[in-house]
């Protein structure tokens, strides 16, 4: 097969996406696929999803096929001992048959789980992305972005590329190589109120009537992880703030059936405090299917929620979002996608007053046009004391000239940490590695956020990164030496004792350098990305001969070395821009007929 542009002249390209994750992952995948469909309209996309999470995929009219995997039915029968494992396997095989026989050109596994890696190996396709199984069923990453997901996204490493952007870039870059350039330049928006084709008969006519006469805020409740999420009292306090101070808004409360008791408590608390507002609050918890829920969220002016699925749905529909993301929620990877959404986060529980302050600031943007800072707004409301406990971010979509994708603009500088700076740089390094986008050094670093304490930390990091730079450079040299030695061998299996000893000694050196990279990463956790990436990349090398394995290994260390060099460049740049700047005095201006000082 001619690898470069191999499918350029083929009509009817077929691409299957495997997404066995929950509904939030399916919606995120659909957003990425929509972007690809706009640029490559001749590609036929199909999806494999779990039956219980298939609603979103079935409501999209540009998918050729949606294969629903009845996981619950198959597994429950085995767990309940109604069927044996062998019988379960037979059921799976039967289900697989129509999926397998389609002659797929691309198979994209966006689930990134152990289970899905087996499925993606069972389905034949010319080109695969994501996790697969090969060679005695070991887990393999098919491509660079999958390695990045394995090493960075699915670990403790903080990086700032949104998952939707990773999936989109992964697919589009692969298409560009195999299918050629896209038909248009990709500036069209992906999100839309009509993203899903809803069953109009299923949409509640009562809601439709209510919606058309008023402005609504949807509060989607999810009561998991109680210590971080709000209590029913706190939700009702927040709703009370909105209703008392904003007579133009009404509230609709949504959530799963299992949230019914909790939401009833919220509702009762609210009506007890504000009985006059009873006709401005509608509770539909446990009463919405996917169609009605989508219709509601799509028609509301705002969604307020901590639930990721609700946030993804509102993103896709273009509804503005106030995302409550307490604790260690990775909002920068799975948070709102689009322009002017707001994220409120905190290491403690988010204060109701703070959340209200952020929402009121965001909803009055049309009035202040960004000329009022969030500090001033908190001060006006009498909540200045909450600033130190509340972190606020606003989403922005970068233009294509600036690299595209979403980024989270921090509005409160006190919370800016070294990990945020490094996360930004790691994201830029990954883009440099895997989509050829080189951001200008220091992009999106705000000079005002750089404190003397941060500079101290950066200087320490520069010292350890210099050691890492030298170690990775040495690893490149040692691996290159192995290329030379192994290249002279007539066979990998037959060699002289001297050659064998030489190869063993070089191998031992590489193992020592690897161990040193690991120790550096433990001592300076911000450098862990390089240790993890090199481990994952080396595990996924495809080379069969020793000399090609050595060459590929050298390339891995070269890639890490270049990444460390970029990191150091950004750290040095940050120190540079933090230095005081001399303010130039304006020269005297003489205006004709007058003398002005």
């Amino acid at each position: 097969m001619n690898e470069q542009g191999s499918l350029v002249n083929k009509k009817n390209i077929k691409c299957l996406v495997v997404q066995l994750g929950p509904l939030s992952d399916t919606i995120q995948s659909l957003m990425a696929l929509r972007a690809a469909k706009q640029l490559y309209p001749n590609v036929d996309f199909s999806m494999v999803v779990r039956s219980q999470h298939s609603a979103a995929a079935r409501r999209v009219d540009w998918l050729e096929n949606v294969f629903t995997l009845p996981t619950e039915a198959i597994i429950n029968q085995i767990v309940d001992s109604e069927k044996t494992i062998k019988e379960g396997m037979a059921d799976l095989g039967l289900w697989l048959s129509p999926v397998v026989g389609n002659g797929w050109d691309f198979l994209v596994n966006w689930t990134y789980s152990q289970a899905s890696s087996y499925l993606s190996s069972l389905i034949p396709a010319q080109i695969k992305l994501g996790y697969v199984r090969e060679n005695k069923q070991s887990l393999l990453c098919s491509d660079g972005w999958s390695c990045y997901i394995h090493a960075a996204v699915q670990s403790d490493i903080k990086q700032n590329i949104h998952l939707t952007d990773i999936l989109t870039t992964q697919l589009l870059t692969t298409f560009q190589i195999h299918l050629g350039e896209p038909e248009d330049n990709g500036e069209k928006a992906v999100t839309s109120k009509s993203f899903f084709v809803l069953d109009s008969g299923a949409v509640d006519s009562a809601w439709d009537y209510l919606y058309s006469s008023k402005k609504w805020i949807c509060i989607h409740i999810r009561n998991e992880e109680k210590h971080k999420n709000w209590s029913s009292l706190e939700w009702s306090e927040f709703a009370s703030f909105l209703l008392r101070r904003h007579p133009e808004y009404n509230i609709v409360i949504t959530g799963d059936e299992k949230e019914k008791n909790f939401s009833n408590e919220c509702y009762q608390n609210l009506i007890r405090d504000l009985p006059e507002c009873e006709n401005r609050v509608l509770s539909l918890v446990g009463e919405t299917d996917f169609d009605l829920w989508t219709s509601i969220v799509g028609k509301c002016a705002w969604l307020v929620s901590s639930d990721i699925t609700a946030v993804q749905l509102a993103s896709v529909l273009g509804t503005r979002i106030l995302h409550l993301a307490p604790g260690d929620v990775k909002y920068y990877e799975i948070g709102p996608y689009g322009n002017s959404h707001y994220v409120v986060t905190s290491n403690e529980k988010i204060r109701v007053e703070a959340a209200y302050a952020v929402w009121s600031y965001a909803s009055s943007e049309w009035a202040h046009h960004g000329n009022k800072t969030i500090y001033e707004h908190f001060q006006q409301l009498g909540y200045s004391g909450l600033i130190s406990k509340t972190d606020v971010l606003r989403t922005k979509i970068r233009s294509t000239q600036n690299g595209g994708g979403v980024f989270y603009e921090r509005l409160i500088k006190e919370h800016y940490e070294l990990s945020d700076l490094v996360a930004n740089v790691i994201g830029q390094i990954a883009r440099g590695w895997y989509c050829g986008w080189i951001a200008p050094t220091g992009q999106e670093i705000n000079r005002e956020f750089i404190t003397p304490e941060l500079i101290k930390e950066i200087r320490l990091m520069l010292e350890s990164s210099l050691v890492l730079y030298r170690v990775t450079l040495e690893a490149v040299n040692v691996a290159t030496e192995l290329v030379d030695v192994s290249g002279r061998l007539k066979s990998d299996k037959i060699m002289s004792l001297n050659e064998r000893d030489k190869i063993q000694s070089i191998g031992k050196k590489l193992i020592e350098l690897d161990a040193l990279i690991d120790r550096l990463a433990k001592a300076q956790p911000m450098l862990a990305i390089f240790a993890k990436m090199s481990q994952v990349l080396i595990h996924n090398l495809e080379s069969e001969k020793l000399s090609s394995a050595a060459r590929d290994t050298a390339e891995v260390y070269r890639q890490m070395n270049e990444g460390v060099a970029v990191l150091r460049e950004w750290l040095e740049h940050t120190i540079e821009i933090s230095k005081p700047v001399i303010v130039q005095k304006r020269p005297l201006q003489l205006i004709e007929g007058q003398r002005k000082l």
């Binding site: 152990q114 190996s121 069923q137 887990l139 972005w145 394995h150 699915q154």
Partner: protein, 58 residues
């Protein structure tokens, strides 16, 4: 700065057809892991995956 375009192309599968003697093992592995996900809880795209990279033991 792109290091190696092979990482951008995706894994090009030279012989797309799955070897019949591998099929049973792969289906068993698939089912095994689906059952583990159910008993251990949902596995989301952004959750941790077992980082120990080793062949599946038989």
């Amino acid at each position: 700065m792109i290091v190696d375009t092979k990482w951008l192309k995706g894994r090009i599968v030279k012989d797309p057809e799955v070897n019949t003697k591998d099929i049973e093992g792969l289906i068993e592995g698939f089912l095994d892991n689906l059952i583990s996900e159910k008993t251990l809880g949902k596995v989301k795209i952004n959750s941790r995956v077992d980082k120990t990279i080793k062949p599946r033991s038989k």
